[in-house]
């Protein structure tokens, strides 16, 4: 029994340690989690790094012996050895109620969806949970969620974008 607990403890303490990651794109390592912070190094796309932590839109990494912050979307975490999915499945089996749920459901296969039959009762149930505009606004107010103006993201240009064409600093970064 003690061994199981130690095993679980080891599993859950994993995220606190450095996890392996891969750079999705080139980015500058910065001293602080902010775009204005001083650069302390560079990490190139595809580089293997260590992920140390995260703060808002920034991930702290160690690359080539240098520690610094890069944008969250510049680095991707790798699954720890054994795989998160396997861990999840192993934990699920310990919970008897979930085992029942898994056994009772065949999953959403293509065949099943094709052979689906309309269920008006369930649909009516769904209507029942509907939240209107006022309800959503009230929820947001209670949660202190404040709307912000965020423009839509353009579709990324193909890699061979014309140099000097798009004036945004982003496309300039892509050029390198």
């Amino acid at each position: 029994m003690t061994r199981i607990w130690m095993f679980l403890l080891a599993l859950f303490s994993l995220p606190a340690l450095a996890t392996p990651g891969t750079m999705i794109k080139d980015d500058t390592l910065r001293a602080q989690p902010a775009a204005a912070a001083a650069g302390v190094g560079q990490a190139a796309k595809g580089a293997a790094v260590e992920i140390l932590g995260r703060q808002s839109g920034w991930t702290q990494i160690k690359a080539g012996g240098v520690t610094g912050w890069v944008r969250v979307l510049s680095v991707r975490g790798e699954a720890p050895a054994g795989g998160l999915a396997d861990v999840g499945a192993a934990l699920q089996k310990r919970d008897s109620s979930k085992v029942v749920a898994v056994a009772g459901l065949r999953g959403l296969s293509e065949e099943e969806l094709k052979g689906a039959r309309f269920n008006g009762q369930e649909l009516a149930r769904m209507d029942h949970y509907r939240v209107d505009r006022g309800g959503a606004q009230q929820f947001a107010m209670m949660a202190n969620l404040r709307t912000r103006d965020v423009p839509h993201l353009p579709k990324p240009e193909s890699k061979r974008s014309q140099p000097g064409g798009g004036a945004s600093s982003n496309s300039m970064l892509d050029g390198f």
């Binding site: 999705i24 794109k25 775009a35 808002s56 839109g57 944008r71 969250v72 979307l73 510049s74 991707r76 975490g77 790798e78 699954a79 795989g83 998160l84 999915a85 396997d86 999840g88 499945a89 749920a101 459901l105 999953g107 959403l108 296969s109 293509e110 969806l113 094709k114 689906a116 309309f118 269920n119 008006g120 369930e122 149930r125 769904m126 209507d127 949970y129 509907r130 939240v131 505009r133 309800g135 959503a136 606004q137 929820f139 947001a140 949660a143 202190n144 969620l145 404040r146 709307t147 912000r148 965020v150 423009p151 839509h152 993201l153 353009p154 579709k155 990324p156 982003n170 970064l173 892509d174």
Partner: protein, 313 residues
């Protein structure tokens, strides 16, 4: 009969997509003529584009209950070249009713209400804020989420269990909201079934007009199983991230979920449908990374909503 219905479905949808799609224009022009022939066999006139069911026309059959028949409603949308919000809702309703026929809603009132609060708030930041949005968590251990026309959004219990914060939920719902806003499902139906259905139509005769509405269901479910094209998924990712950020959430909920799902083994049955119908999460992350670049640097004060996040019992 089934083939005919498919044809009609694709016709509705091809017309609803409108200009800008060369394929749709070609097919819809060809089909408009054919459709008139079909109406002749039923000895009813082609309906006018804008007029409601015309009582002035002596040949027009009056629907028994004073309600317009499904055929008439669909015909009107066909001939006008537009799918009205009501018709979109009807199509969505049947697809959604079909999906909950396979996987019912999780019996947890607090969960369903919570998901609707978050979802409706995120949807309010979209271009279709006033759609009759509905959100539901369905009984499935799969990791997946679905959207149907008209504002029906679903996510599986398996996916919900993988979420760790409200901002992640907002990102996932935002992605699905993006599909509805851009009418991706309607476009897919039209694209993939047009030609085949056209051929089938020529050898069919109509007996029961209600069947064509009924058959929308089957087509909708097939669509869920087939998935959208890659660009539609990438676009929905960009939209979802933006909607969540607009709603006051930390912007990176969706990419966090994508990274988490990406750790699932390819052979894991719970992601087989997702992997079949979507680009691999790694590819989606790469695309999002390119699209975002430094554009979100100034959007810093978002919430993760960890403490508020509803945990499954």
């Amino acid at each position: 009969m089934k083939t005919l219905s498919r044809f009609l479905t694709c016709l509705v949808l091809s017309l609803s997509v409108g200009a800008g799609n060369v394929y749709a224009d070609e097919v819809s022009d060809a089909l408009k003529g054919l459709f008139k022939g079909f109406r002749k066999k039923e000895s009813a006139p082609a309906p006018q584009p804008v007029a409601p069911v015309a009582p002035s026309s002596p040949a027009a059959p009056t629907p028994p209950s004073g309600q317009e028949s499904p055929t008439d409603l669909l015909l009107k949308s066909l001939m006008s070249g537009k799918t009205s919000p009501e018709e979109e809702a009807r199509i969505g309703q049947q697809i959604a009713g079909n999906l909950v026929g396979v996987a019912p809603l999780v019996r947890d009132d607090a969960l369903q209400r919570y998901v609707n609060q978050v979802g409706r708030w995120v949807a309010l930041q979209s271009e279709r804020a006033d759609l009759d949005w509905r959100f539901g968590v369905i009984e499935s251990e799969d990791l997946n989420a679905f959207a149907a026309p008209g504002g029906y959004i679903f996510l599986t219990k398996g996916l919900y269990r993988r979420l760790n914060s409200e901002s992640e939920l907002a990102g996932v719902l935002g992605h699905e909201i993006g599909h509805v806003v851009k009418k991706h499902q309607l476009k897919l139906l039209q694209k993939s079934q047009g030609i085949a259905a056209l051929g089938g139509f020529l050898s069919q005769k109509v007996k029961n007009s209600n069947e064509l509405v009924q058959n929308l269901i089957g087509n909708g479910a097939e669509m869920m199983a087939r998935g959208l094209d890659k660009d539609a998924e990438f676009e929905a990712d960009r939209l979802g991230l933006v909607y969540a950020a607009r709603s006051g959430y930390e912007a990176y909920g969706l990419p966090t979920v994508l990274a988490e799902i990406g750790h699932s083994a390819k052979g894991d049955a719970r992601v087989s449908l997702l992997y079949k119908t979507h680009p691999h999460p790694e590819e989606r992350l790469g695309q999002l990374s390119e699209a975002v670049g430094n554009r979100m640097d100034g959007v810093t004060d978002g919430q993760t909503g960890d403490s508020r996040f509803y945990r499954l019992r």
